[in-house]
């Protein structure tokens, strides 16, 4: 399984896709959300079925646009399709983000069997 690491830019997050960790970290408002996230969706489709160890999935997004909101549903769809017992999914948000908890609930309510944990942080990004 080849790891995929996408470096952060000023309008897209850092994305880590590996056998033990999947992480989205930063802001997400690329001009063409579909083209940007296409390799991510492909990687997930190809590699999630092959997983056989514990994997942590972290969402550490600070600001994300409406197109990203929709893509996150697609990402969680794929994760849900290949759900495993050994999966920990965390949704991090800044404590002072007014929409933080609401955004989390949008996804937690849509995917109740994924048991997404909400974690409030002082600062999301290191």
């Amino acid at each position: 399984m080849r790891d995929l690491i996408i470096k952060e830019t000023d309008n897209s997050p850092e994305i880590t896709l590996s056998a033990t960790l999947i992480e989205f970290c930063g802001n997400s408002y690329p001009e063409n959300t579909f083209t940007f996230y296409e390799p991510v969706l492909e990687w997930l489709q190809t590699n999630l079925p092959k997983l056989n160890n514990h994997i942590t999935i972290n969402f550490k997004m600070e600001y994300f646009n409406s197109a990203t909101t929709q893509i996150l549903f697609d990402i969680l769809d794929i994760i849900c399709e290949h759900k495993q017992e050994k999966m920990t999914i965390n949704w991090y948000y800044k404590a002072d983000n007014e929409n933080g908890l609401e955004d989390y609930e949008d996804y937690a309510d849509e995917f109740p069997n994924l048991n997404i944990q909400a974690i409030a942080l002082e600062k999301v990004m290191p």
């Binding site: 579909f34 409406s66 197109a67 929709q70 609401e102």
Partner: protein, 474 residues
């Protein structure tokens, strides 16, 4: 004389701007690393030629050592070149610079050795052989200028190293050959510098040409977008309609990039009833503007179907209608790549019955009565996206309107605006802002909002399309 002057001033400029800093694009450096013939000539072929021509004139062992040193440098340069060639185009430019510096170092060693050779040549050989040596140097330098022209540091190092070491060697020779050699050197220098400055001029000209092309296409795009803005402004509603219904109101609409995905509609459906729609289409700029055209088409259909009694002017029902229409029109009943839709709110007001109805999709309604704020939260389902169900319903709220009730609806543009301190405008700041200004005349409220926004933005760009509306019905 003129070209001499030009070449000198070019070289001076070059020295002033470039001698200690390397400013090359990845593309230029990749071209350098792919040009190998000059490297093979000056580091491999020519030393062998020199060996066979001068082995009778100069000490055999000295010449052999010289050839070996040239070869060693050549192989080092070949190795560095090979490594640099293997770099992927997307590699960080810092690594390219590292290889360039090592490459230039080998160029220096090569040319230093060539210059050093002049010492035994001047001392032990006749004029013909000295002349031949300079012709060879001239040929190598010209070829170097021709192929490495875009990397002028390489040319410069090559030529200057040879000249400097040759001058040092001159110190050792007798006066009989001094003027001859100096004359040849001067000619050599002149030819090379003319070639180098011509190359530099060519490079500068290409850069200016490139900048011009970029500016031209930029202007074309701007012209095109400005024309698109005219078209988009033609679908904006006549705000005067609001005068029939509101004591006072304002609409602040500002796309991020001349055209945008935010749009609003004001439709008088009967003399007593008005429907106001605030819509934040997915995206901004050109793709966003495409969506607003689609929304306008749906809005027209809504107006017609309300007129013919098929639809009731209920905001909740209208949002559902939008949702279904968008999903079907863009074939988003199932997951598709053109995932598009909007967040927004619809307000209905009947001035005869004073009835006001509201429904929203991720867009709340702010109500201020006697300085106190109440927020009606909207539904959390966006309109039109493939994620949203085809038969999605939206909660409709009755809003009680008293004398002096002020209503505000905004898209998330202002809330997500990035400020100069790195934070965002946010809901709290917005709520405080409208509470502070709600008693002013609405056109003043609009300008205060604009000023506060500019102040908050500072030097940052506008983050998203902005639409803020305020109404006082009675």
């Amino acid at each position: 004389m003129n070209s001499c002057f030009l070449s000198i001033s070019c070289i001076y400029q070059f020295i002033k701007n470039n001698i200690f800093t390397l400013h090359y694009t990845k593309e230029q450096m990749r071209l350098l690393f792919s040009a190998k013939s000059g490297m093979i000539a000056s580091g491999f072929v020519f030393p062998i030629i020199i060996f066979f021509i001068y082995k009778g004139q100069i000490d055999f062992h000295l010449l052999a050592i010289w050839v070996i040193l040239q070869m060693a440098t050549f192989f080092l340069r070949w190795y560095i070149n090979h490594k640099a060639e293997m770099l992927p185009p997307k590699e960080d430019i810092a690594l390219y610079y590292k290889y360039l510096k090592w490459y230039l170092f080998t160029v220096f060693i090569n040319s230093f050795l060539w210059g050093l050779l002049s010492l035994p040549i001047f001392m032990y050989t006749s004029e013909t052989y000295i002349l031949f040596y300079f012709i060879l140097l001239c040929g190598m330098a010209s070829a170097s200028v021709a192929t490495l022209g875009m990397i002028l540091h390489a040319v410069y190092i090559f030529v200057i190293s040879i000249i400097l070491t040759t001058i040092i060697a001159l110190v050792f020779i007798g006066s009989t050959k001094l003027y001859f050699v100096m004359g040849i050197m001067f000619l050599f220098y002149l030819i090379i510098m003319l070639l180098a400055s011509y190359k530099m001029y060519e490079t500068m000209r290409k850069n200016i040409q490139q900048k011009y092309e970029i500016e031209k296409s930029h202007n074309l795009i701007n012209d095109s977008i400005n024309y698109a803005a005219l078209i988009q402004s033609s679908i904006l509603p006549d705000e005067n309609i609001l005068r029939n219904f509101c004591l006072d109101s304002f609409v602040y609409w500002k796309p991020k990039d001349t055209v945008g995905g935010d749009i609003y509609f004001i439709r008088q459906i009967t003399p007593d009833e008005v429907i106001i729609m605030i819509i934040d289409g997915a995206g901004h700029g050109v793709p966003g503007a495409f969506l607003t055209m689609l929304f306008k088409a749906i809005e027209e259909r809504i107006a017609a179907e309300i007129k013919s009694g098929i639809l009731t002017p209920d905001p909740g029902e209208l949002l559902s209608y939008f949702n279904k229409s968008i999903k079907i029109m863009l074939r988003q009943e199932k997951r598709s790549s053109s995932n598009a839709g909007f967040d927004g709110a619809i307000l209905y007001y009947n001035k005869k019955t004073n009835q006001c109805k509201f429904a929203g999709a991720k867009t709340p309604l702010y109500i201020i009565n006697d300085g106190k704020m109440e927020v009606i939260k909207s539904d959390r389902k966006s309109v039109g996206f493939s994620r949203t169900k085809l038969e999605q319903t939206y909660t409709q709220h009755e809003v009680s309107i008293k004398k002096g009730t002020k209503l505000y609806i905004t898209t998330d543009g202002i809330l997500d605006q990035e400020g100069k301190d790195g934070d965002r405008f946010g809901k709290k700041r917005f709520e405080k802002l409208i509470l502070d200004i709600c008693d002013k005349p609405f056109n003043e409220q609009s300008s205060v909002i604009q000023k506060q926004l500019s102040k908050f933005e500072g030097t940052c760009q506008q983050s998203d399309d902005i639409t803020i509306t305020g109404f006082e019905f009675c």
